[in-house]
Symmetry: C2
Subunit: 314 residues, 2 copies
């Protein structure tokens, strides 16, 4: 059972912040949901669209009255805000964030406070970010999505429970892991794919003679490059914030691609089939995780796995 909060402050009314605010408000999980955004027009729109109850133009005053503060701003801005909030927050208040990298926030807190404040709960809802702005806010955005929390040993267990139960009340599945593991996992499953897509599109677009190549591009390319339309500034920041884990993933990927290149070059059919089949099986497995239909797809996966085994044994 979730304890009803009095005042929740959401800083940054983009897709994620707006959806969090709207989810809390529509489910009456707080008495008052207050919004703050550097763009006052977004705040006014937030009230109009029923995303928030009210907004403040004085960030520190709003922060001093809140029982829970959610930072939903770009990764780079979170550090400065965290520092400011902590100077004015109620001692009992809880603060959390939605940034897509976690080690950098914890390191920043370490630089300022010596350690992560016990009532700051680093978090990351894994939800799409194709749309932006408060008009895209959706009270059900987090339903059936995952939210990763990365508390340290010194983090207040009670504060973690409050944040976790809020996300659960919004329909999310809450997972806990170390911030290091979070950044590794995200580097592999989100940052690397985006970087590959950006790199592919940029490489293709680089040469003058390639301009017309896009004219012929079909399905595979389209799926692949959709994510290259993501915000360049956000990805610039992520590459900075999660540099080491991303470099490590690029290196692992480059090694794998190099093995595949060698197999193509040498006409090594067995290795090619092995890679393609393993990838297909893994992809099918991934689909079962996404759709929750593990048993329906199992025969397909099993068939492929048997095929692979036969090929490798043969």
């Amino acid at each position: 059972m979730i304890q009803k909060l009095d005042r929740v402050l959401v800083v940054g009314l983009g897709l994620i912040g707006g959806s969090f605010a709207s989810g809390i408000k529509s489910r009456s999980l707080a008495n008052t949901v207050v919004g703050y955004d550097i763009n006052e027009q977004e705040c006014r729109l937030g009230v109009e669209l029923n995303v928030i109850d009210e907004y403040s133009t004085d960030l520190l005053s709003a922060a001093s009255e809140a029982d829970l503060i959610m930072l939903a701003v770009p990764v780079k801005a979170t550090e400065a805000l965290l520092v400011q909030m902590f100077t004015v927050m109620k001692p009992t208040a809880i603060i959390s964030d939605v940034g897509s990298t976690k080690m950098n926030i914890i390191e920043a807190a370490g630089r300022v406070f010596g350690t992560l404040p016990h009532n700051f709960i680093p978090g990351h809802p894994i939800a799409g970010a194709e749309k932006s702005g408060v008009t895209a806010a959706n009270q059900d955005l987090f339903e059936r999505h995952k939210v990763i929390l990365t508390p340290l040993e010194t983090t207040s267990v009670d504060a973690v429970k409050v944040i976790a139960s809020l996300w659960q009340a919004l329909g999310a599945e809450v997972l806990e892991m170390t911030p290091e593991r979070h950044d590794e996992v995200l580097a592999a499953t989100s940052h690397l794919p985006h970087i590959l897509a950006f790199s592919l599109v940029d490489t293709l677009a680089h040469e003058e003679q390639n301009k017309d190549i896009f004219r012929y591009a079909a399905g595979g390319f389209r799926d692949f490059t959709r994510i290259a339309a993501s915000d360049p500034v956000m990805w610039h920041d992520i590459c900075h914030a999660n540099r080491d884990a991303i470099l490590d993933q690029i290196d692992q990927f480059t090694d794998g691609l190099s093995r595949l290149r060698t197999a193509i070059d040498q006409g090594d059919g067995q290795t090619l089939l092995g890679i393609f089949t393993r990838a297909r099986v893994a992809r099918e497995y991934f689909s079962t995780l996404l759709t929750g239909t593990a048993y329906e797809l199992k025969p397909v996966v099993q068939k492929e796995a048997n095929l692979l085994q036969k090929k490798e044994a043969g």
Copy 2:
């Protein structure tokens, strides 16, 4: 105005062959559409589903009576079939294919006939291949899709016209280019993205500790890896058939990725923003080609381009 054909033989009743047959039949572009497939069950199903008028279990006899033969079989099988068909075909008959690589077919014809027969028109409809089998046949599959024909100088101009007008009658846009250019373009826009997706999923799935990584994967990864579920055997064959162009594209991509890696490693924000913004602009441009809404998206592209210019000038 398209001249009505008497007998059209479609060899291979998969998604592409079945959809071609169904498109011809439903638009009455031939008096009789005959199907052939090594799996007789697919043939019977083809008649039942109205995809073809009749089927034959004697390939050479069917080929000897056809006015037009469409080979819609895996790339590797096309060469052997081409040779067989030519020994029995009417002198006035036209033959074409739908293979996703073109140089290999032309080289194979060269080995057998010394040159490409003047009435063989290599072709490639660029249409999705996620589904398979005659039950997936769709008479409108090629509407608003591109079909690339790669005739040589010795190819019959009249035969090209017949094939082109058939595809146009099915709603496709027909383009002509050299087979070399076709293979380059496809290596860049289809084969490379598929190889990157296969390689990414295989690399992630490789290590035991990564098994749970898929559990956290979100949007970017999903878009990226959808294409890794494609048929391993088909991609094995494509890697063989278009080896040189694919290796060249892998090398260009690897160079690009290496430049991006260096920029991340060195915290070179200007280069990162340049790559990400160019990719985004190119991706938006690609979207305009796909949707035909060039003017609607132009302001976005222009804004990004200005942003980039300012960043690079600054």
